[in-house]
């Protein structure tokens, strides 16, 4: 393990031209649409030339004037944060419990957590609307939140579960207990700090997915609780520049939130890669 002196990844040697080409191609593939969206959002006209004919911030001022801009932004943020919180409350204790006390249930849980990937959003939304067709739940934001939680559960589950697998929770628990830690101290000082990286990356995935989610919101609540992606889709039918502006805002918010979380917990992220390296 630690004693064996295997070469570090960086020591393997310089990457070959094929590797460089692959990486460059990958970066282009990922970055060009994003860069293009950013440029398009400030372009006056961009259909006959390679680069836009002129630049303007008119799209953004137009967006800011729309009263729905702040409302939808707020709705989407509330929905995303709520989904993250509900996911944390439901998934983290479940994974811990199954891992430590009920290992036999793990295959079942693994299976359940693949289902949301297999069910199209349309099917999930329409069936939820049909089943919960009574007030005050019918077509309410609560039903939408429940649906987004189901939809994003696998992201939280996978992240937390992989992290918990990577550390020996039962032995760490016993070690802490033998040193005089009660259950609260075991959880807050030993278990949660060590699965924090998993909780964090799960939260990021859930937040970003819900923030950009359209199908469920459109079909479950419709116009009564407009989310940011709904506004965006509305504008794609009216004005491409403004839609691009909204996309840029959406990207930027997702990035700021990600960077914020990563910055707050920079220490945690470092220690996961360390834990995994040490194995």
């Amino acid at each position: 393990m630690q004693e064996s002196k295997q070469p570090e990844k960086g020591e393997v040697g310089k990457p070959g031209w094929l590797q460089v080409l692959t990486i460059v191609f990958f970066l282009f593939y990922m970055l060009i649409p994003i860069i293009a969206t950013y440029i398009f959002s400030v372009a006056t006209r961009w259909d006959k030339t390679i680069l836009p004919e002129g630049y303007t911030l008119e799209g953004y001022t137009e967006v800011a004037k729309n009263p729905y801009f702040l409302i939808t932004l707020k709705n989407s943020l509330v929905l995303s944060v709520l989904s993250v919180v509900l996911n944390l409350v439901l998934i983290v204790p479940t994974v811990y419990w199954v891992h430590v006390h009920l290992h036999a249930a793990k295959p079942l849980l693994d299976l359940l957590m693949i289902l949301p990937f297999g069910i199209p959003g349309v099917v999930l939304a329409l069936s939820l609307v049909q089943v919960y067709n009574f007030q005050p739940i019918h077509r309410s934001p609560f039903l939408l939140a429940a649906a987004t939680v189901i939809f994003t559960m696998p992201y939280m589950y996978r992240s937390v579960s992989n992290n918990i697998e990577a550390i020996d929770i039962p032995t760490l628990t016993e070690a802490a207990q033998s040193l005089g830690a009660n259950m609260v101290n075991v959880l807050t000082r030993v278990i949660i700090p060590n699965i924090f990286p998993g909780i964090l990356s799960g939260s990021l995935l859930v937040f970003a997915t819900v923030f950009a989610e359209f199908t469920l919101a459109r079909l479950i609540v419709g116009a009564s609780f407009k989310t940011f992606p709904m506004l965006l889709v509305e504008y794609t039918r009216k004005d491409g520049t403004i839609a691009a502006g909204l996309s840029v805002i959406s990207f930027t918010i997702a990035w700021i939130v990600s960077l914020l979380i990563l910055w707050v917990s920079g220490k945690g992220i470092k220690s996961t890669s360390d834990v995994i390296k040490a194995r």
């Binding site: 393990m1 630690q2 004693e3 550390i167 020996d168 032995t171 760490l172 016993e174 070690a175 802490a176 207990q177 033998s178 040193l179 005089g180 830690a181 009660n182 101290n185 000082r189 030993v190 700090p193 060590n194 924090f196 945690g268 220690s271 360390d274 834990v275 390296k277 040490a278």
Partner: protein, 353 residues
């Protein structure tokens, strides 16, 4: 009254008996080993002392106090695990200080005490590092320091060296013994490695199938095994089945063995005779002075082990293992005819069930 007293401990896991009728008294400052094959109940017993398992019946007294109702975090018992179980998110010093923080010891004092135990395990320079930056042996020394920092009433070690290289294992067991006797800390040590148990213990408890086979000093366990299991589990032994034919001899079928250790067993009792390889004497020529237990044989294999040389010698179709100290004698070779002798004093005789 002994410092740590286990009385009639029983533990069953879903109809499998893990520990049965376990009785043990440990004096203050002793190092006791639980030795046995995997599944013999040694770790279960240790975990009952720690409080991670509850005995079905029986009592555990520590310094006269019944600790059964006390949860593990209130027992003041330190534990070292096979997998080290250091907290990966904390520095070495924070790991060692964890127990002191739980006791709400002032920071300054906690740091001083942590540094003192780090000094004890000779790793004071690692205080600011993280567990994954240390080798396995170093991590286990930190785990030991962490358990010692709380000044535990009893120290429990659960196969602490099993995950380490042979060389580190030998060095570290010496270190554990040194620290243990310096601090005079009562210690229970679980291992499946008989050499480890014999080399560091004051008292060895040999267990098999949830039962205690024998409790004794390492010398007693090795020289006077109480049961056939102990005799074969500890070290190597040549075995001969037979039955008692007189007050000093055992009839083993093709030959008869003299022994001075029959302890008045009646004639015709079915027994097994056990002889340790180092007690087999080997001669190139027929020795004139030897009267009893002398056999002629042929060397099958010669294996050099450094300090000793192990021979497999065929006597009338039976293979005998003999450990000899060559000391420059080069008379031994494959297929050579030799003479073997078992001194009647070293022929251990045990009833077969």
């Amino acid at each position: 009254m002994a410092y740590l007293e286990l009385t009639n401990i029983c533990k069953t896991f879903s109809s499998v008996v893990a520990v049965k009728d376990f009785n043990l008294s440990v004096e203050k400052g002793q190092l006791v080993s639980f030795l046995g094959p995997s599944g013999c109940g040694k770790t279960t017993t240790l975990r009952m002392i720690a409080g991670f398992e509850t005995p079905d019946s029986g009592s555990i007294l520590l310094n006269g106090e019944n600790i059964a109702p006390i949860p593990p975090d209130k027992r003041g018992i330190g534990m070292v695990f096979q997998s080290y179980a250091l907290f990966p998110n904390m520095t070495i010093r924070d790991n060692v200080m964890f127990g002191l923080k739980m006791q709400r010891i002032p920071k300054q004092e906690a740091v001083e005490r942590a540094d003192k135990v780090l000094d004890l395990v000779r790793l004071q320079n690692t205080a600011k590092r993280y567990p994954h930056q240390l080798s396995g042996g170093q991590q286990q020394r930190i785990a030991l320091a962490r358990a010692l920092a709380i000044e535990p009433r009893v120290l429990l070690l659960d196969e602490p060296l099993s995950a380490l290289d042979a060389e580190v294992r030998v060095a570290l067991r010496g270190e554990i013994r040194r620290i243990q006797s310096d601090l005079g800390i009562t210690t229970v040590y679980v291992t499946h490695d008989q050499e480890e148990a014999l080399s560091i213990s004051d008292l060895v408890v040999v267990m098999n199938n949830g039962l205690i086979e024998q409790i004794g000093s390492p010398q007693e366990i090795y020289r006077k095994p109480a049961t056939r299991f102990v005799a074969t589990f500890i070290g190597t032994a040549n075995e001969f089945q037979g039955k008692i034919s007189s007050s000093s001899s055992v009839d083993c079928g093709m030959f008869s063995l003299e022994s001075t250790r029959l302890q008045g067993m009646p004639v015709n009792t079915p027994v097994v005779v056990l002889i340790r390889p180092e007690n087999v004497e080997v001669f190139a020529e027929k020795p004139q002075e030897v009267k009893h237990n002398l056999f002629e044989g042929r060397i099958d294999t010669v294996t050099f082990h450094g300090a000793i040389t192990r021979l497999a010698i065929d006597i009338g179709g039976r293979s005998i293992t003999a450990d000899i100290n060559i000391n420059g004698q080069s008379f031994l070779s494959h297929q050579q005819n030799v003479w073997l002798c078992f001194n009647p004093d070293v022929c251990q005789v045990m009833k077969t069930e």
